[in-house]
Structure formats: C-alpha cells, structure tokens
Amino acid sequence: MENILEVKDLRVSYHTYAGEVQSVRGVSFNVERGEALAIVGESGCGKSVTVRAVMGLIKGPTGEVKPGSSILYNGEEILNYNKKQWSAYRGAEAAIIFQDALTALNPTMTVGKQIAENLIIHKNLNKQEALAEATEMLRVVGIPEPEKRVKQYPHEFSGGMRQRVMIAIAFACDPKLLIADEPTTALDVTIQAQILDVISDLQKQHGTSVILITHDLGVVANIAKHIVVMYSGMIIEKGLCEEIFYQPKHPYTWSLLNAVPRLDLENKQDLVAIEGTPPDLIAPPKGCPFSTRCKYCMNICNERMPEFTSFGGEHKAACWLHHPMAANSIKESGLEFPFELGGVENE
C-alpha cells in the first residue's frame, strides 16, 4: 500500500532554562493512505510533539526540529516548506483535532465563522456559501438544529458538542490526512463513543488517513490498523493492531496492556504496576529508556540502546531480550516471561 506520510528519524528538542529537552529522539513511521495509525504512550512520551511536527507547529525560538529529520507528505519534504506552502498544506491537506476543544476554539467568534474561515481560505467560497457549507458540516457531525447552532459561540456548547465542532472544522476542506490528538480524553465515556463513531464514519466516507493519538489502548482497539508505542521520545514497538494486543514483544507494551483493569475479566485481578517514573528528557539515559523500570533489565540495557528486532511483517520491537546473545543471561536469571522471546531476524 502506498504511504501518504513517511516520517524518518524525526528529532525535536525544546530549549528551556533547565537545558535542552529532547522530546522526540529519532522517530520513524509511515501512514498508509486511507488507513488509521494509532500512537500510544504516556504523557510526556513525545506523541503530541511528533504530530505537531507533522503539522508544522513546532515554533522557535524554544522549539526546534533537528537537522537530519525528514517528513515526506506524498513524497514531498514538508520540513522545507515556506510559509505559503505551509498555509496551503495546513487545513486543506492535513488537519488536526486537539484534545481540549474549549481552548482550541476562539471564544469571540461564532462556530459558523470558525468553520467558514477554513472554507473561504482554501476553497475560495464567498461568505454566504461558506456559512451554508458550515451549517451542512454541523449537520454531518451530528449537531441538532445546525441553522441555530451555527450562529452560537463555543461557550454555548457542551464538551461533546465542542469536539464535534472541532471535527467539523477539520473535515470542512476534506483533508487527506487527519490528526486526532487525544480527541476524547476530556470527555465522558458515553460521549467518547459518539465522537469516535463520528471520526470513524467520516474516515470511511472520505477515505481519509488518520493518526490517532491516545493513552487509552481500549480506544484504539477497534479503530487503528497499525499501532506505534512510544516511550520517552522513542518508538519502542510497532506493528499491526492484533500483533500489539495479542503478541506484545516489549516489556513496556505488555505492562501497559496489563496495567488497566478490564471490564470483561474477573474482579481484583492483579494489576501490573510499572514502578518508578519515566526518565528525564533533559538528560536521557544512554541505554534503553525503560531499563530503570523494567523487571527484566540486563547489564547491556543500561549501556546501549537496543536496535529493532523484527518479528515478521512490520512487527518490530526495540528490546535486548530478543537478541540471540541474551538467551544465556535470561536462562541464568530464571525469570518467567509473559511473552515469547527471540525475533525472526536481526536487522
């Protein structure tokens, strides 16, 4: 399948008084045309920064996309875009839905105007046409009485309705790539189900490619084809949805899956607590970033970052446990593993 987006060795840093925070440290992934990719990770793992770079929203002087990074959109390097090219790309080609709709929307503009803004700029519609189209968009995303609602301000909408407005803005110009940055985190579960349905329906109708960011693995189970798991600015595992859920190969992915209680399992099941906290990205560890919290940590883990081991297809994980040399050390430790060891081949 053809890729709409190819991110290669993306590095993003923020310069703060405390030092350089290396938020994203060499991330590579592809998004297939018309498919949904999910980026999963805890807060501070760099997932939002990654997609902000894709939207060209890393701003100086504090933010910096490091030289050597590459983001190809339809084969074109977008990091070299000038201001005009960025404007043509943002909103029309790629659109983003933010987590907190209340802060993302302009409180002094009616929602109709905010949707129309996009249409006037990218589709050369006049004001009336754009407002009529905006009303239609509100209907599409499931807002009742769109004729009345289009003239209202964001504070007159509930949380779920605001998020629908965000979706209407994002889909107004029929983008090829939609980025949803934790679109449902601030919402209640019943509203979350509604919003995910709207996004998934629109994706199917328009054939849009989607990058969905979330920390909730339950949310992605039914939507994403591919999953990327990030930890402290790096990708530690990626693969098809089923591979990640049923055959996780990285101790972090496995722990994450078992850290949340599941509604369909027995009560008082043991939750896997991941002790400790993620490392400080001002001085990231030279070895594997998960080593200090990992039960299966070996000496090598503190010294060198593991390469990706491939498990057939696109399933890859960066963990020393799957290195052939690790076999002896694992035998000595006598630990039992909840996942199978060893890869197909080493890259």
Binding site: M161, Q192, N222, D264
Partner: protein
C-alpha cells in the same frame, strides 16, 4: 458483607445549590445507600452527575439540604466542637488533583504531620518525625523526601503524599475523590494497588468516587451508579457487570472500550448508543431523569420518579421497567 456493621448510613440525602435568582441546581437529589465496615463502595457516573458533591456532603464538607447522613449512628451534620473534631479524625479524604491539594509552601513532613499536630497524636517532636517516616514508608516514599517541597515530586508521588496525609490521623473511613484520574496509566496501577493493600492491612472503609467504571469495578465491592443527582442502580460489582438492569448502566458498560481488538469488533456492532448529552441539573426534567436519552421511555417515566427498588437480593434499581 451484610454481617459487618454499617459505618456510613446515607438516607434521602439532598444537596441543592442556588444558581441565580430563580434557579436551583439539584446536585444530589434523594440518595440512599449504606457502607459497611471494611467495604469499598464505588460511586460512579459521568461528570456533573453529583458524585463528588454526594461524597463531600457525606463527610460533612458541605451542609446538607435535606435527608440524613449517619456515621456510626451519629448525624454528621449536627456534630459540633469535640465531636466534630473526632469525626474529622475518623473520616479523611483523598483528593483528585494532587497538584492543587497540597500546599506548595509546606514541606512534605509538615503536610503529613499537620493532622498529627491538630489531633495531638504525637507526644513530642521525635515521635512526630518517626510517624512521618512511618507513613512515608507505608506509601512507598522514603525518609529523604520528608524535608522536600511538593513541586519536587511527580504526580504519582504527590498522590502518595496525599494518601500519607490522610492516613496520618489513623482514620477508619476514607473518601477517595477520583484519586487516579489525574495520573498516567502506568502510575494509576501503582496507586490502586497501594489503596487495596492499605485497605487489607488497616481495615479501612472506602467511598471510592470515580468516572472510570472499569477501575471502579476493579476496586469496589459494591457500586452505585449515579445519573443527574440520583442513584440509578446499586449492587455488587460482579452483578453490575453480569446483569446490569438500568438502561443507563447498560449503555455505560457498553460504551467502555475493551483493549482487545477481536472482542471490541464484536461489541461495537451491538453497542448501545446514547444520543445527546446529560441534561442540566438546574431545573432537571420531571419524572425519570434519564427518560430523554432512554429508548424504553414510556408515559409513566414522564409523570413519576422511579423509586430505588430491590429487585433481587442486594440489587437495587430505580427504573419503571422493573
């Protein structure tokens, strides 16, 4: 559970707030439940359903509008002076936001020892320090943390400090108000495991308020589902999942995604979808509060407020269907 004595008895509790000249916000409207000793009662519902207000009124942080809350036979809203102080020592609270609930100008030792000082639980300075170290150790922190300030800690560590502060006055009953919702997934498990361990070791009773039904199911013995100020359903956590009766509970359970692609694919086809939003608790609809979003709604639901009935032993539901 029924053999154990009742610790907290809430009957027909109401809490209204004034919301402008002619408007009344009915945050809690006629709520009844009991909590037994050593039990965890989960109070779950969507935002704005009144679960936090209910919890806070139960430990007399708010005055009630009507009804009765009895802690070990005493009406908590009439307590004064020494008796109130004793109740405050017995009933503690863990707050939702560990960033806002700890004083940034106090050291961790002073935060934890504040209750110890007020209730005179330490005879001298040495004993006070020892107690602080003890509780730090209990929640998985260490001695070196005692003289630091709160800004030096991560969210999970702050929540541990909040728990240590609550435990320091040797309470019997703790109201946990969304103690994990501000934390990351991997940290949530740490805190929940800690709360369960502490309950076992110290025989605590919890009122666990949260919106995350899967976490509430994990930690609670019984669960009360709230909707717009009223209890819709109250039963044991296993029964609630296996046989949810109230249409709202069914929809809520069906809306929660399960991290398993195959199961999720099957479920999504049969998902019960709720239309619309929760109505405003200011001048709420007459009759059943849920009728506007309920597919089984009849004329009766318009006219009459459903009572909380016991339909099978220990399983209460407020719906005209039963």
């Amino acid at each position: 559970m029924s053999e154990k004595p009742v610790v907290l008895e809430v009957s027909h509790l109401k809490k209204y707030f004034k919301a402008g000249a002619n408007a009344v916000l009915k945050a809690v409207d006629d709520v009844t439940f009991n909590i037994h000793e050593g039990e965890t009662l989960g109070l779950v519902g969507e935002s704005g359903c009144g679960k936090t207000t209910c919890g806070r009124t139960c430990i007399a942080l708010y005055d009630k509008t009507d009804g009765m809350v009895k802690y070990k036979g005493q009406d908590v809203h009439t307590l004064k002076g020494k008796e109130l102080k004793a109740f405050r020592k017995d009933a503690q609270m863990i707050f939702q936001d560990p960033y806002a609930s700890l004083n940034p100008r106090m050291t961790v030792a002073d935060i934890i020892a504040e209750g110890i000082d007020i209730h005179g639980l330490a005879a001298n300075h040495k004993e006070r320090t020892e107690k602080v170290y003890h509780y730090l150790d209990l929640v998985g922190l260490n001695k070196e943390h005692a003289n630091r300030f709160v800004h030096e800690f991560s969210g999970g560590q702050r929540q541990r400090i909040g728990i240590a502060r609550a435990l320091a006055v040797e309470p019997k009953f703790i109201m946990c108000d969304e103690p994990i919702s501000a934390l990351d997934v991997s940290i949530q498990a740490q805190i929940v495991n800690l709360l369960i361990r502490l309950q076992k070791d110290m025989g605590l009773t919890y009122l666990f308020v949260a919106h995350d039904l899967s976490m509430v199911k994990h930690i609670s013995d019984r669960i009360a589902v709230m909707y717009l100020g009223v209890v819709a359903e109250l039963t044991t956590s296993a029964e609630l999942y296996d046989h949810p009766l109230h249409p709202y509970t069914q929809a809520l359970l069906s809306a929660i995604p399960i991290p398993d692609p195959e199961i999720e694919r099957k479920r999504s086809a049969n998902r019960i979808k709720l239309e619309g939003d929760v109505p405003s608790p200011i001048n709420p609809p007459a009759g059943c509060r849920f009728k506007g979003r309920c597919k089984y709604a009849t004329e009766l639901c318009d006219k009459q407020v459903p009572e909380l009935k016991e339909v099978s032993p220990g399983h209460f539901v407020a719906c005209h269907l039963y």
